[in-house]
């Protein structure tokens, strides 16, 4: 196992870096897009709500691999050239955003109705009430479930392995195939994932306690 680390540290580090990069981009992207669709889902207008829920249901109910493959194989045929890393990251962003939309929507619903009424009666418009009062409180409530989504996101970034995105899992597969030391290689890959996800999950737990 040590010899894998000594001889393969370069691709492993490269994979780790790409996994982190993809996760960060998808994290920000899915948070923005997810919040947007959460707001659509609670709109006054039925047609807007419908658009929101179609988006969420489609991306939530199709495997991430299929979405990423779609971007990698089909988009370049008709639309634009796209690298495996980009295809995987976009796929991951859209996929995760559907889950985040659900989470944020639940968070908004969990802010008690009095907060909205208080703001409206105080003269704020609906949009202002959302922006200054409801969303800030909703985000506080959704931090724990969002944390879980982010951990899932990091793990799901392994979809890059299927679209040649040079992430940790991709490099791990190659090393396992070259050296045939399959179990030790995946063991190391597992530990590298834990190095990202475990601190994240303990930080989330800490935040959850602090905000409770």
């Amino acid at each position: 196992m040590l010899d894998i680390i000594t001889t393969q540290w370069h691709p492993l580090l490269n994979g780790l870096w790409n996994t982190i990069l993809c996760s960060l981009i998808a994290l920000v992207g899915s948070l923005v897009i997810g919040t947007f669709f959460a707001l659509l889902e609670i709109s006054k207008y039925r047609i807007v709500r419908l658009i929101g829920s179609i988006y969420v249901e489609v991306f939530r109910n199709i495997p991430l691999l299929v979405i990423a493959m779609g971007f990698f194989l089909i988009v370049p045929m008709y639309i634009a050239k796209i690298s495996g890393f980009a295809a995987g990251t976009i796929g991951l962003t859209l996929y995760t955003s559907a889950f985040i939309a659900e989470t944020v929507r639940a968070g908004i619903n969990s802010v008690e109705g009095g907060q909205l009424e208080g703001a409206l009666a105080n003269g704020l418009t609906h949009a202002q009430a959302m922006r200054y009062i409801i969303l800030p409180q909703a985000f506080r409530v959704v931090i724990p479930p969002l944390g879980n989504q982010f951990i899932n996101l990091v793990k799901n970034s392994s979809v890059l392995a299927f679209v040649a995105g040079f992430d940790l899992m991709y490099e791990g597969n190659l090393i396992a195939n070259d050296t045939l030391q399959t179990m030790p290689t995946y063991f190391i890959v597992g530990i590298l994932y834990l190095i990202i996800t475990l601190p994240l999950s303990y930080y989330m737990r800490y935040l959850e306690k602090k905000l409770a």
Binding site: E117, G118, A119, A121, G123, Y132, I133, R140
Partner: protein
């Protein structure tokens, strides 16, 4: 000049007829107390006044705006009509000062310095100047309610609505809140519509007492008449005897 006018107002929740044939005029500067058993429609009535709940039918004119008209911008009404809730509804994510300053800043675009000065003055008025930087969760119920009143006053409204402002409070906190309300009623020419079971307050402060039951206004008396003689209807007399002492 009238501040609030109901003309044959009907309100429904789905199929449930919550307000029936409401006719009521409240003049500018009047203090009106609204009483009645639970579920009689007091909250429903008061919430239609600033457009928190829509009406189905009839005409409702508040501060010159017609609420039944879809083209009316309800925010224009809410600027001038404040509301105080049973459960305070302070913004949990803002401290006391921010609770008071937020709406004037955003809605009225009041300059920051003037906004802060007024907020501090109102905090003093409600006796809580030392709590300016506390979060709502750090306050007792009575303190929260006084902050909520200050928050409404900061908009310099012409009219204030109160929906059972003291019924979620511990008994020894109630007087602090009622005293603030009395002060407003006596020392400003605010129009006030107050749902409450505090009969002492009604007797001392109200110009008129309105009694509701089953979605209807059953009595609309001057305070002297309501407490001096007796309510006209049996319903109101029964109700008064039931709540006396609590």
């Amino acid at each position: 000049m009238s501040m609030i006018e109901f003309h044959d107002v009907q309100k429904y929740y789905g199929k449930f007829h919550a307000l029936k044939d409401i006719n009521l005029t409240i003049d500018a500067g009047e203090t009106v107390v609204l009483i009645g058993p639970s579920g009689s429609g007091k909250s429903s009535l008061i919430r239609t006044v600033n457009g928190l709940d829509p009406i189905r039918d009839g005409k409702l004119i508040v501060n010159g705006f017609d609420l039944a008209d879809k083209k009316t911008n309800v925010n224009l009404i809410r600027k001038d009509v404040g509301m105080v809730f049973q459960h305070f509804n302070l913004y949990n994510n803002k401290n006391v000062l921010e609770n008071i300053m937020l709406a004037p800043r955003i809605v009225l675009k009041r300059p920051e310095k003037e906004n802060r000065d007024l907020a501090m003055k109102l905090l003093e008025k409600v006796g809580l100047a030392d709590k300016a930087n506390n979060m709502p969760a750090q306050l007792s119920g009575g303190q929260k309610q006084r902050i909520a009143i200050a928050r409404s006053l900061a908009m310099k409204p012409k009219c204030l609505l109160f929906d059972e402002p003291t019924s979620a409070l511990d008994p020894e906190m109630i007087d602090d809140v009622l005293n603030v309300m009395k002060d407003i009623a006596e020392n400003s020419n605010m129009t006030m519509l107050v749902v409450t079971h505090e009969m002492g307050f009604a007797r001392d402060v109200a110009d008129r007492v309105i009694f509701m039951a089953d979605g209807r206004i059953i009595e609309d008396d001057s305070t002297e008449k309501f407490f001096g003689d007796q309510p006209t209807t049996q319903r109101a007399r029964d109700f008064m005897s039931k709540i006396s002492g609590h």
